[in-house]
């Protein structure tokens, strides 16, 4: 296949905000149309993505081993981790909802962490992988990221509703902060990854 020229190779920069092409010159650091900063590629994309990704990996551990919430029912206290919450849903014959939570709070964060790792490795070592496939993977990762917030929102609703002292009460655990941080860090990691790098090295 004939190698198609990128806009950068032809001397153009696309404004990330308004989409207008500008000829590369020393005069413009900001887009003449909308005033946004001009970058041919996201600056320090790999470094920033790696930083957010590693923090995400680090916080994934406390997010899974510490309790995410504790439920008090008539004086009896039950402590749930993320996985424990899924098992208790299965025990109560709510398998579809358990699968939903499993996907949103275990599979999606793992897919994001491993997926972004793969993207970074491909760019860093210039592996000749199908760039179209990887761009598709990047889009899936960027799209599903927000759905991991499901667990956080569910806890916030339970905490706000079930607040009746000794009769019934839900209290957040330390894993909630860690898990929320994992979600935000992986969203940022995906945001700072520049998919155009995948195409710069592919033939």
């Amino acid at each position: 296949m004939k190698r198609t020229a990128s806009a950068l190779a032809q001397g153009f920069i696309r404004c990330h905000d308004c989409g207008v092409l500008t000829k590369i010159s020393n005069h413009f650091s900001h887009c003449p149309i909308c005033g946004g900063r001009l970058h041919a590629r996201i600056p320090y994309s790999l470094q920033r993505t790696t930083a957010f990704l590693l923090s995400g990996y680090a916080l994934y551990i406390p997010a899974n081993i510490f309790p995410i919430m504790s439920v008090t029912k008539l004086g009896r206290v039950e402590v749930h981790t993320i996985i424990g919450g899924i098992f208790s849903l299965i025990e109560n014959d709510m398998v579809p909802i358990a699968m939903l939570v499993l996907v949103a709070s275990i599979l999606v964060p793992l897919l994001k962490l491993f997926g972004i790792t793969l993207l970074l490795l491909c760019v860093h070592y210039r592996w000749q992988v199908n760039a179209r496939f990887l761009t598709g993977m990047y889009r899936v990762i960027a799209f599903v990221g927000r759905w991991s917030m499901l667990d956080i929102f569910m806890i916030s609703i339970l905490v706000g509703l079930v607040d009746m002292g000794g009769v019934a009460q839900v209290i957040t655990g330390p894993a909630a902060t860690a898990f929320a941080a994992v979600v935000v860090l992986t969203i940022f990691a995906a945001k700072f990854f520049d998919p155009r790098l995948l195409w710069d090295y592919s033939r």
Binding site: A7, C34, T135, L150, M154, S156, L161, D163, A180
Partner: protein, 206 residues
């Protein structure tokens, strides 16, 4: 400044001839498949109408109870805010802030920005802040997570159904309507068209 008659794909940076798809057509990048533009009929007017509707619905969705529960004679109503307030009381500042931003503040900011931009464009009013507003809207858009919050409500209800009697409040219906409005808003907003109009508005303004 000279006119450049090319476009570049935002995700693979391939240089493209400028395309002008008709209504009902989608323009995709030939190399990576990115959806470049999907023109909508009367995008500006629809955005204006939908953001007014959204602004009205925000009031009951924020103030009226979403769900009420009853456990052994004890009742409690939950609004959008009660979760945030309880998280603050428990000193979970980070989680409280995140929930507040993504379920309350950013949906509000997005609707206000859509309203401001589409109103200025519809009435042909120039404003030096139009481009900045549009940039903010593009950055904030992905942090409004109403649809994920809705799924959170559903999962919470299923979890509670064995423990308590549930009652759906008017706020929940307002919230569901608001969710539909915001989804329609983001699917109707044609970014390429909006930026073209903002460019014209700026030229006539300066």
């Amino acid at each position: 400044m000279q006119k450049i008659n090319f476009d570049a794909c935002p995700e693979c940076d391939v240089l493209l001839n400028r395309s002008a798809p008709n209504f009902g057509e989608n323009a995709h990048c030939p190399r990576c498949g990115y959806l470049l533009q999907r023109p909508r009929k009367q995008s500006i007017e629809k955005t204006l109408a939908l953001s007014i509707a959204g602004l009205v619905l925000l009031i009951p969705a924020n103030l009226m109870p979403l769900i009420g529960i009853k456990i052994l004679g004890n009742t409690n109503d939950g609004t959008l805010w009660s979760g945030v307030v309880m998280l603050m009381n428990e000193k979970m500042w980070g989680v409280a802030l995140l929930v507040f931003l993504s379920s309350i503040l950013f949906p509000l900011v997005n609707i206000i920005l859509s309203l401001l931009i589409s109103a200025h464009l519809h009435f042909n009013k120039g404003n030096q802040y139009l481009a900045a507003w549009m940039r903010w809207l593009q950055h904030f858009e992905e942090w409004a997570m109403l649809e994920v919050y809705m799924l959170g409500i559903i999962v919470a209800c299923v979890k509670l159904s064995s423990l308590a009697d549930l009652k759906f409040g008017l706020g929940l219906f307002a919230y569901a309507a608001l969710l539909i409005i915001t989804v329609m808003l983001s699917s109707n907003l044609d970014r390429v068209l909006f930026w073209q109009h903002i460019r014209q508005a700026q030229k006539s303004f300066s």
